[in-house]
Amino acid sequence: MHTTIVIDEKYRDTAAVQLSSMLSQGGGAELVTLSEFLVRAGIEFDVETGNLNWDKSIFSKRYPDARSRRICNRVISISNATVAAMDGDEGVLTPNFVFDVYAAVLKEFREVWGEPGLYSPAGNLLPLNLQWRLFASRITDISTPKFVYGFGFANIDTKDFHRPLWKSPFDLYGWKPEEVDKNRIHPFVVDRPPGTPVFVYFVASSANVFTVEHHEVDEQIKTTLMRCANSLREMFGAFMGEALFFADGERLTFAAFSHYVKTSLSDGHFASVLESGLKQCAA
């Protein structure tokens, strides 16, 4: 089956090229930006109404075989660049308008890898605190970080924190202490979990565990995290993604999940995990 891989104009999935090359060896694949995909599908901006219209006759002509086509949806966020491409830079549309038509178009295809969820066309895209809450509600034998999210210009008492980090709740990857303005509004302070970083990533139901220094991972930890991969996939509604944990001896703390796999690309097994995952999906 032919696969169309859709990515955002600006927020490009770093795995897209690999996905494309691997799927090309299957039934054929093409890589398109979201705006190109939507225009081809017959979505056009109406200057008179300031809205997007869908000319379904264009869609039928372009994709007469939609019912036997596959979309690999790697649009995790819709950028303003995509919106500008859709409304000719008139500044009239918003990303959610594009999200709405994209979701409608996706429904016309037989197989869609990566479906809309909360805040994202490709699953549930959440800030750290909501990720931890979700994770803790499903998995009870792995900790989540201690944190405080102050409201307004709150003074956060960090005396019980071992390694307080002032972060943004949207910053999935910054876990090193750095000089920040502690007087910022709505301070988000996290106690950096003890231990060393370890990643688990997955593509569909194929997964692997690794560290960025390519150290051996303790077998117990590896087993636990491989088991976690399915839960992560389900709770974030993700087709693929990577999760950062901190391992301190046998103790694990979940830190962050990302729908992107930019760190996991450096894992030596990435290509085989990708291949295996795609094969299982395509079967």
Binding site: D46, E48, T49, G50, N51, L52, N53, W54, E90, G91, V92, L93, T94, P95, N96, F97, F99, D100, A103, A104, P116, G117, L118, Y119, L126, P127, N129, L130, R133, L134, S137, F147, V148, Y149, G150, F151, G152, F153, P169, I185, H186
Partner: protein
């Protein structure tokens, strides 16, 4: 809550909610004041008696002003935290209101004061050599106070907009604001008369604030001062007349909702955990659950305001485009394909009707947007 949904379309035949809820509010405020008077007896019978006497000294019209004011709401709302102190404050407020009604303070009331303010901040008695002189603030339609100078406008409080000291307005800045606010109100009342009525019914006073360092938030409402709205730096060029119009409607809808919740029960049944805030589908910022609850209605009202604006005859292409831009911004959060209730349901315990209501509003907006797309014509009022 289908009547609330209908009200916020500003359709020509509003539900009784728009006007009758004000009567219910006054009755309830009176009941709450009576409760205060009764409760205060346990702590200080003398203080309670003084409050009763003060309230009873007020002429009928002044009693309405007293009961409706954001100032007395705020005190009654937290009365039990400091019963005697709050009782004394309510008594002072009653005599302040009486002073305004009489044109001079009753004997012994604030003997050293140079000025005495009404409870909305709309009137002030100033002591002169010739005696007391009454000044009145400008008001929209004789009802909504535009307040620059009252203690309520200048106070330092916890909320973001009031947390830094109030700076002085120049004469030019005052005039700029007055003209803008009047023009904005006139505009709203013309394009969507129901929203004009909403503003008159639910907003007692618009406090104007100046703070040069402030760039974050341009308008504000807080739930413990029902009837008050605040605008920051409204004299600035970037704060256009249309932006003021948007703020007037936005904050008045908050007042409407706070009134509704005060009378009929809160949307959020348990205090939310501020550590877990949903991300706004409009701004992309995490906001408290309570704010998200109100925001749905506010954006819906603004979306309908834009629809009414688009129905004005004789709009230029540029004007039409600008309104469409705002319309789409207001509609934006509703356009997500996932149910709005999914964004909230795990983060709080809600009153039974609330989550179905927001999903219904989302459905209405999506249908209106799609109807416009397909038929290329302006949508008419929804049938609920």
């Amino acid at each position: 809550m289908f009547d609330m949904i209908h009200l916020l379309t500003a359709d020509s035949v509003p539900p009784p909610l728009l006007d009758s809820m004000v009567d219910v509010y006054i009755s309830r405020r009176k009941l709450d004041l009576e409760k205060v008077m009764w409760y205060a007896h346990y702590f200080s019978p003398a203080a309670a008696q003084r409050l009763i006497a003060a309230y009873e000294s007020l002429p009928e019209a002044s009693r309405f002003s007293y009961l409706l004011s954001p100032a007395t709401y705020e005190v009654v709302h937290v009365f039990d935290q400091k019963p005697v102190e709050n009782c004394e404050l309510l008594t002072l407020y009653a005599y302040d209101q009486l002073s305004i009604a009489q044109g001079e303070p009753p004997k012994g009331h604030r003997p050293d004061a140079r000025e005495i303010w009404s409870l909305t901040g709309g009137e002030v008695l100033r002591r002169t050599q010739a005696g007391w002189h009454l000044e009145e603030a400008e008001k929209l339609d004789g009802l909504v106070v535009i307040d620059f100078d009252s203690p309520f406008a200048r106070a330092i409080r916890d909320s973001p907009l009031m947390s830094r000291p109030a700076e002085e307005f120049s004469e030019a800045e005052r005039n700029e604001i007055l003209q803008k606010v009047k023009d904005a109100y006139t505009y709203v009342d013309r394009v969507a008369p129901i929203f004009g009525r909403l503003i008159r019914n639910y907003t007692r006073a618009a406090r104007m604030r100046k703070c040069a360092a402030f760039s974050d938030v341009s308008s504000e409402h807080v739930t413990n001062t029902i009837g008050e709205i605040r605008l920051m730096n409204a004299f600035q060029e970037a704060y256009s007349m249309l932006k003021v119009a948007e703020a007037l409607v936005h904050e008045s809808v908050h007042n409407l909702l706070s009134t509704y919740e005060y009378l009929f029960g809160h949307f959020l049944l348990r205090e939310d955990d501020r550590n877990y805030r949903p991300v706004s589908l409009w701004s992309g910022n995490p906001i408290p659950v309570g704010s998200f609850c109100h925001a749905i209605f506010v954006w819906f009202a603004l979306y309908n305001l834009a629809l009414h604006e688009l129905r004005q005859p004789g709009l230029t292409k540029e004007q039409r485009k600008q309104i469409q831009q705002r319309r789409n911004h207001y509609a934006s959060g509703f356009m997500v394909p996932t149910d709005l209730s999914d964004y909230l349901c795990d983060l709080g315990l809600f009153q039974r009707e609330y989550l179905p209501t927001i999903d219904r509003i989302q459905e209405i907006v999506q249908n209106l947007v799609r109807k416009e797309s397909h038929q290329g014509m302006e949508a008419t009022a929804i049938a609920v």
